[in-house]
Symmetry: C2
Subunit: 147 residues, 2 copies
Amino acid sequence: MATIYHQVGIKARLNDVYNAIATTEGVTGWWTSTSGDPETGGELEFSFDGHILVVNVTDNIPGKYVEWTVGGEAGEWLNTRICFELEELDDQVMVNFQHTNWEAETQFLAHCCTKWAVFMLSLKDYLETGTGKPFPDDIHINHTDFN
Amino acid sequence: MATIYHQVGIKARLNDVYNAIATTEGVTGWWTSTSGDPETGGELEFSFDGHILVVNVTDNIPGKYVEWTVGGEAGEWLNTRICFELEELDDQVMVNFQHTNWEAETQFLAHCCTKWAVFMLSLKDYLETGTGKPFPDDIHINHTDFN
């Protein structure tokens, strides 16, 4: 099993960081158009230009931790878990991110690792400046259709 | 052992991508001030505001692959390997990056994973626009001294 790890430190209130990850409006502001029920046991849908990613919210502890488990037609993402752990540190909130339970260490994992960094920076900008760069306005990391 | 993976696709000539990774002038343009001998068996020094990172060039195959093995006073980076594999694909060059041989999956690994993404984007900008964002003009991912 393989895992993608990222960490960013965001100058924002803990509750605002939590809301950016645990509400559909929040996630829409830095990742992509999001709908559904973000509470534990709920289902969320993330839309990428016609492609829909479906996850089950397998944990949601206010101010501390959010975990989504990927379902649906998800290819290599199927049954992977996307986890956000929040930690207050001095005057910032550290977001400890994991995308775990990948079956293999593929080039697609490498692609997704770089892409998650782009979206972690988008989350940081969303909270610190009011404007993120969600899909399709995200930073492109290559010149293919899947960029 | 743990590994950081990234992938970017760069619209540039293969030889230019290779030179950005395999020459001191190149690396200085997207990562940090670099000196030393970039050929296989050589030693390179990367300077970060007084801190010097020393690596041995453990492989250098023109147009294909560059590998550095970290030595010196390197903490968690000691004996890790930083690897760049180049692959021509249609009208771009894919850079398959690995920072491998980490002893443990720590928060510092997570930090470095996000930071390597920042520098992979800097490498892409350096080659596509002529201007990278090397240290200390790199994108900051937190609000500590080590950002």
